[in-house]
Point group: none
């Protein structure tokens, strides 16, 4: 039934950072907004932004230079892709197909419904 909790803000920020990296907007070794800057951009407390960066750093996606700022890791794009990919294939995909089966749907039906709803928007 997927009664998903709303995600913590710091994880939402982390997620967005990952998307920027995945989309190529931020490249490997490139400097990213400072903690304070992103806290303004995202309209959250600097501590919360800091926590997001802390988390991403522990994941190896970004790193910081003392007194300078945060940077996308050397292999940040690859890192991010791997993290998201493994999570997607190991968690989201199996659940997706399981739910599909439970609901008595098949792949092409879902795809059609999805495309139709996209057109309506």
């Amino acid at each position: 039934m997927e009664f998903a909790d709303k995600q913590a803000i710091y994880l939402q920020i982390a997620d967005k950072v990952c998307e920027f990296i995945l989309s190529g907007e931020w490249s490997d070794n490139e400097r990213i907004p400072s903690v304070r800057e992103i806290s303004v951009m995202m309209e959250v407390n600097p501590n919360t932004a800091n926590r997001a960066y802390d988390y991403l750093q522990s994941m190896g996606v970004i790193f910081n230079k003392r007194g300078i700022g945060y940077f996308v890791a050397e292999n940040g794009l690859e890192m991010t892709k791997q993290l998201k990919r493994s999570r997607f294939l190991e968690e989201d995909v199996p659940r997706f197909f399981r739910d599909m089966q439970l609901l008595g749907l098949n792949c092409s039906e879902v795809e059609q419904i999805f495309k139709k709803s996209n057109n309506n928007q």
Copy 2:
């Protein structure tokens, strides 16, 4: 029960109950395990099991007869299907396709990977 999991335990239980209903294991109007029984089955605190049933009752999936026990609702299967279906199509599916795109995968690739991993199990 996955205590370290992200999802609340009572929601994990509710999820399983729904699956039993969807899979036909528990039919409309059929009696389901008591709070105490299911708390033993799932190895959780009875309060937690109680909360799961509370939640399902509030959603109209099950109901109880005082002093007797809990039962799948008159239209429990339909109810469950609708809940899951709407959630699936409105939240899971869009996220699924979005992630797929971000990772540079397409539908058939994902399906292949999934089926392959299933065979290996």
Copy 3:
């Protein structure tokens, strides 16, 4: 010259927890003090204690059960030993021998000095 910074409090707490585990005081799967309890024991803000536990959890040394508390991980002792051991052998030991050499000391001299100073205490 080893101008070491004083360590962050939350890391000092994490360190102490590791020592309790290494010394066998806290065994695998055993419950450890709650965040609030240890914050009182250590005389720090609960947030700081929480951060220490968070860190240890991310290292796989401890885990928590929702609403219940924190526990030493399944393989917590082994985990802790490995972490400490690798850090010791890869960082502390090389530096130790390098410093020893720079100071023109040898192993047995150092050991003697250490033992003598211990006796004096």
Copy 4:
């Protein structure tokens, strides 16, 4: 046990300077690289290099002549040795033996491991 924060850059520089002195590469009263030169060598901000020299000067390891440059102190080698020695014996050595004991290792084992890893390099 990733408890070791990365050391401040200016302290890392100071450390290297001390090693040059201890190893005899730079002798008492000998001129050492200018702040600007060393900032280039170490690829750091000149301010940072300056801070390292400041620190070493305050410790009596080096001194400067206005408009000319920095020099190893009259008794720079002895000074450095003493500083390092006291720190080594009073802090590093006790910690070393304590960690060794916690990990269930003894002196000769550690020495063997260290030498073996050195040969492999």
